[in-house]
């Protein structure tokens, strides 16, 4: 068994693009709308989901032969819940302000469809190494969409990136310029439209391959 066989590479790379959990399977939309009003929480959220998906995939894949089929969802939930609690505590310890901003959405990773989907569809049938790669791939596939949406929303909604003022202060109407921030960008309604645009762009780029 080769570490980087074609199947393993595909397990990692296909969720980044052609089988993306957000833009193709349309999973995990709820948190994509809720945490993307700024870049920093979007990135932290993306990384958290990546870590949790990878670890959960690994653990479930190791246990897959011992888990009784009828109670597998409960076992999966216990594993995911434990991992989410660990990540949540780590966030509180090291990046407290972001964890306050993310509020319930870190805890809600437990219910993220991407996670349960990967556990059911991949980790229950595949070996630990491939499952870990699949988990990382799906987490990153989710993360890049979050970062793209967060970039647009923070830039046009508050004129900042990573809390750093990008659009010059002198442009603003309050300082005698002409520019104004788009208030709707900060509302979840607009992130739905931006996620829609990302899906639109991604699908029309990949039209031939479908």
């Amino acid at each position: 068994m080769k570490l980087f066989s074609d199947e393993n590479k595909a397990a990692f790379s296909s969720p980044l693009n052609l089988n993306n959990p957000v833009t193709v399977q349309v999973l995990g939309i709820c948190s994509a709308l809720a945490v993307t009003s700024q870049l920093k929480p979007a990135i932290i959220m993306g990384l958290s989901v990546t870590v949790i998906t990878a670890m959960a995939n690994l653990v479930i894949s190791l246990l897959r032969k011992t888990i009784p089929n009828r109670i597998r969802i409960i076992v999966q939930l216990v594993v995911v819940a434990a991992l989410v609690t660990i990540v949540s505590q780590l966030l509180k310890a090291f990046v407290y302000d972001v964890s306050v901003q993310l509020s319930v959405y870190v805890g809600l990773i437990i219910t993220n469809c991407i996670l349960m989907g990967r556990l059911e569809a991949f980790a229950m049938q595949n070996g630990p190494w491939a499952s870990t790669l699949d988990g990382i791939g799906n987490g990153l596939g989710y993360a890049w969409v979050l970062v793209a949406v967060g970039f647009v929303r923070e830039l046009f909604g508050s004129g900042k990136l990573f809390d750093f003022q990008v659009i010059p202060d002198s442009w603003y109407a309050a300082n005698g310029g002409w520019y104004m921030n788009n208030g709707m960008m900060v509302m979840p309604a607009m992130s739905l439209i931006i996620v829609g645009c990302v899906i639109w762009a991604h699908r029309s780029l990949n039209k031939e391959e479908k």
């Binding site: 109407a173 002409w178 104004m180 788009n182 208030g183 709707m184 960008m185 509302m187 309604a189 439209i193």
Partner: protein
């Protein structure tokens, strides 16, 4: 008319397949069918009954019906500007109108250029006939925004609404929401500071080409609905009916809107059922909510004042009756209109954060129009099924 026809005849060979300017086919097509009724009809084989006027001619009638409100709106822009500068008695009417026209014209141009530009690009891209729906939206949009709305913001809002409220649903006739109102809603939620409040939003402040006056920044002018939040309205009813009050460009004058309404009803383009029931619903709800206490402010608006303030009359005549987004069944029109009136007044009175509820009410009912239609059709089916079973 002949020279125009000749011009189109000369252009035609260049835009057909393989011609030099094939890329502009939809553009030329659009203008030609706007100028002349096309002589192609639907193919034989199905039974169709067609009115002699097509949708481009209907749209033109609506644009004509909007003219009185637009022209009065231009005059009122000049009037408010001169009033704010304190020089009204010395001003000539024509100067007021010319100033207003200069202030409003750029908005109309931006709205049409951006909106039609996107429509032409989409039509060319999908290889479809150019769609005429934006003829009306393009003139409606400048009429429902405050005169001080910056042009770049207007351009973004128009692009947003044409793409996301119209083209995504399949273009003219397929949209769920009224594109002009989506433009206003986008402005309202994205750039609240240019759409509400009494700090200089409603009165043009700069002189243009030597016409009009520069108004000091400290001048404020509140619309009657803006004043209502404070519990006291100083606007006279007669001014609100004539329209010499601050407000969005086309919405202030009830008389000018009534002229448009007469034309729309006379030509049968707008449904009197929708129009009448919007007013009925608004009056009823206004009467019920007279003197209600919201927070610590007693609602000062009398029932008939709801109908003459703000965008109520404009929305009832030109927005609620939009044949694409309103209910289509005859019974449904009563329900649809009545609920618009009720919701509009409810938002106005019970939510001080949104002094103007008409936009939200119409958009909300746009969403429910298919449901209203469904219920009407279904109840009719049930009635007939019962009759057949007897």
């Amino acid at each position: 008319m002949n020279p125009i026809k000749k011009l189109f005849d000369n252009i035609r060979p260049h835009i057909e397949e393989g011609g030099k300017f094939h890329a502009f086919r939809s553009l030329v097509d659009g203008f030609e069918t706007f100028a002349f009724v096309p002589n192609t009809t639907s193919r034989a084989g199905s039974v169709n009954i067609h009115d002699a006027i097509d949708s481009k001619r209907i749209m033109s009638f609506v644009v004509i019906a909007l003219m009185p409100a637009l022209i009065f709106g231009m005059y009122n822009v000049g009037y408010q500007n001169a009033l704010a500068a304190g020089v009204l008695p010395h001003c000539h009417r024509w100067d007021l109108f010319l100033y207003g026209a200069l202030a409003v014209l750029p908005k109309i141009i931006v709205s049409y250029v951006v909106g039609l530009g996107i429509e032409f690009v989409v039509a060319q891209w999908k290889n479809e006939e150019i769609q005429e729906g934006f003829l009306v939206s393009g003139i409606l949009i400048p009429m429902i925004i405050p005169v001080n709305t910056p042009l770049w913001i207007l351009a973004i809002a128009v692009a947003f609404s044409v793409i996301f409220a119209k083209e995504i649903f399949g273009g003219t006739g397929m949209n769920i929401f009224n594109p002009a109102l989506i433009t206003r809603a986008f402005l309202f939620f994205s750039y609240p500071s240019v759409m509400t409040g009494d700090d200089n939003v409603w009165v043009a402040q700069q002189s243009i080409l030597g016409l009009g006056y520069n108004v000091p920044d400290t001048y404020t002018a509140a619309t009657p609905l803006g004043q209502a939040v404070t519990g006291h309205i100083s606007t006279l009813d007669i001014n609100a009916v004539v329209g010499l009050i601050p407000g969005s460009i086309g919405e202030t004058s009830v008389i000018a809107i009534a002229l448009g309404a007469i034309l729309l009803l006379w030509t049968g383009i707008a449904s009197w059922k929708t129009m009448f029931s919007v007013f009925a619903g608004g009056a009823l709800m206004g009467w019920l909510l007279e003197g209600v206490k919201v927070g610590d402010v007693t609602n000062p608006i009398l029932w008939y004042q709801h109908l003459i303030y703000g965008g109520f009359a404009f929305g009832a005549v030109f927005m609620a009756t939009d044949p694409v987004t309103s209910a289509r069944t005859e019974c449904g029109k009563y329900v649809y209109g009545f609920l618009i009136g009720i919701v509009a007044v409810m938002v106005r009175v019970l939510n001080p954060g949104y002094p103007e509820g008409m936009m939200l009410a119409i958009l909300l009912m746009n969403l429910f129009a298919p449901l209203v239609d469904y219920c009407v059709v279904q109840s009719n089916i049930n009635k007939r099924a019962k009759r057949a079973a007897k």
